[in-house]
Assembly symmetry: C2
Homo-oligomer: 358 residues x 2
């Protein structure tokens, strides 16, 4: 579900840039360095998120890390104290919930509607929460995009409650009808939003590079935690990524992935009409890397997911992401990493798993 | 002080291995992978530490991480609860102390003698401590090597107290008279020792690769924390390092560094006799990457260090590593990263800083 189309990655270009850096500046990139990462990369990220995501940022607010998991872990360690309440989306990203709980915070599941997190519901259940964790541009797993009035309501609550909002913007680059929607961070006038970005989806997961964008007041606290727990030396890979962005490979790769993912999703939707007919309906996704297959009433999605797994098809059950909310049975189907020709056969295998579950 | 001789690193060989991996197996090393790192590297590490450090280990006990800081952070998070007492060496490595305190543990400074940590003193002050953090093969900053009877006493205390011992083996590869001493872990028959190793000194700091070796019972707990907070995808760099070790470059580089560091230390000792005469005496170091310059009585080492810093000479004051113990004034002088010909001029600058401090 979360794996990007690595078959599309321009490996040769990446290796060429890496080798060039290895020849020209290996020595300067071997040592301990500053501990907050490679400065030109932080600058390139600031420019990119300002232009493409409407984030208001300068390079010193960009703190490199090892991806969204480490970002959320560091947010929890810097901003939360034991017992603090945290709003999490229900259904939502279970890894984030686990990380907040690891910091001894108390997570409060807040239900969603079609527009994302119900701010009113959150305000009723936990008005004094210290933090809200959301994926407003592409909710995981339901895929909704939060409209502007809901975003403003969330920011207004955070300002009132003196709470933080974590915006996890993990795959909003892949938006199929039109342009990506601007970030929540760009609407924030009260310095409440911590923005989480990652290159796991847009470059490759093993790169283990992501970034936090924090309000200016918090830079020192986040930098101090980073310095204590995980020195982020500037590396050849960071310099290579910086070149990859500066020389246009990144933008080109994003365009290519967007087109390919659209094609892959179309293959999924077409194929599902034929192969899953009467058994499941796949809902088109406006963005991201997976679609939701709503199962025929009466099917158990956990069981269906298990049977699919036995047939080597990864299709997580929607209910496995729910805490209190009860939703109709559904499976998540990732399409980003599957070439179009491989989709119909996979759907036939899935069909047999669903039939087996009758 | 802690920076290795990067001028000696075989950059060309490293880049060649990386490029070869980039061509042959980039695709398989781009994704999320298993989350505990590249298996052949874990196996290569197990073989290396067994052969060179007498560590008793199989590859599944080797957990990759981002270096010693992250290792200690994870140890604290897995093994300690708020309020737990931790023995730390006085003087000792301040980063470790800070990390234990970040986990809300209470650090207890335990004084050293020539043979390292005074186990009896620790047992008197904090008999029920949960963990002892030591660098037995090369104490930082004093440089002592713990003899076997002291090691056995430490292990006996840990077994009695049901406590853990963290063995930080950060630079024991560089031992000048004879072979490296075997690890504490190799003496442990009660599964009390967590071994911390790093490639920051032996390969290069920006690689950000180290490893924990944990008793079999703890593998799952450490792996679970790693999976939650920082997915350790197998990467091209891990595969490159694995090749670097397997094809003999690592052992060759260690031999070369050991010879070069010996030469650099000799240049420091010779130069100091001439340049620091009457002002400081540099004590030969049996191992590691720095020596201690004991200052003439009456000099203030913090002030001397500051004056040296103003002249662009990094020479930390010994007293800055002490918590309660009071030692004569001294500076730490790193020699590993300084070519021999650059040492006498640097000592002359240091001399002027010390004279200015009269």
């Amino acid at each position: 579900v979360g794996e990007p189309g690595l078959d599309l990655f321009p490996t040769a270009a990446w290796n060429r840039l890496y080798a060039r850096r290895g020849r020209s500046s290996a020595r300067e990139l071997l040592g301990y360095g500053g501990g907050q990462g490679y400065w030109p990369l932080r600058r390139a990220i600031a420019e990119y998120v300002a232009a493409s995501r409407g984030v208001r940022v300068t390079a010193d607010q960009v703190l490199l890390n090892r991806g969204a998991q480490q970002a959320i872990d560091q947010i929890a360690r810097v901003l939360l104290r034991p017992g603090d309440q945290v709003w999490v989306e229900d259904p939502g990203y279970p890894v984030a919930r686990r990380l907040f709980e690891l910091a001894s915070a108390v997570t409060v599941p807040v239900p969603l509607d079609r527009d994302g997190l119900l701010v009113d519901a959150g305000s009723r259940v936990a008005p004094h929460a210290k933090l809200a964790y959301v994926a407003p541009s592409h909710q995981f797993p339901l895929g909704s995009c939060m409209p502007i009035d809901r975003r403003l309501a969330l920011l207004a609550w955070a300002t009132r409650a003196d709470a933080w909002v974590v915006e996890d913007d993990y795959d909003s680059e892949f938006r199929y009808p039109g342009q990506p929607v601007p970030s929540l961070q760009g609407l924030d006038r009260a310095d409440r939003v911590i923005y989480v970005g990652t290159f796991s989806k847009t470059v490759f997961p093993a790169l283990r590079l992501g970034y936090l964008i924090v309000p200016r007041d918090l830079i020192d606290r986040f930098a101090a935690l980073r310095a204590a727990v995980d020195h982020m030396a500037p590396t050849l890979e960071q310099a290579t990524l910086s070149d990859f962005i500066d020389e246009g490979h990144f933008a080109r790769h994003l365009r290519r992935m967007r087109a390919a993912y659209r094609e892959r999703q179309d293959a999924l939707l077409d194929g599902a009409k034929r192969e899953l007919n009467g058994c499941a309906v796949v809902e088109p996704a406006d963005s991201g890397m997976h679609a939701i297959a709503w199962l025929r009433r009466g099917l158990d999605d956990e069981q269906a997911s298990r049977r699919a797994g036995e047939r080597n098809i990864e299709a997580p059950a929607l209910s496995s992401y729910c805490q209190r909310l009860v939703l109709p049975p559904a499976l998540l189907l990732g399409f980003a990493s599957v070439p179009p020709r491989a989709i119909p056969p996979a759907l036939r295998v899935l069909r047999s798993a669903l039939d087996g579950g009758r």
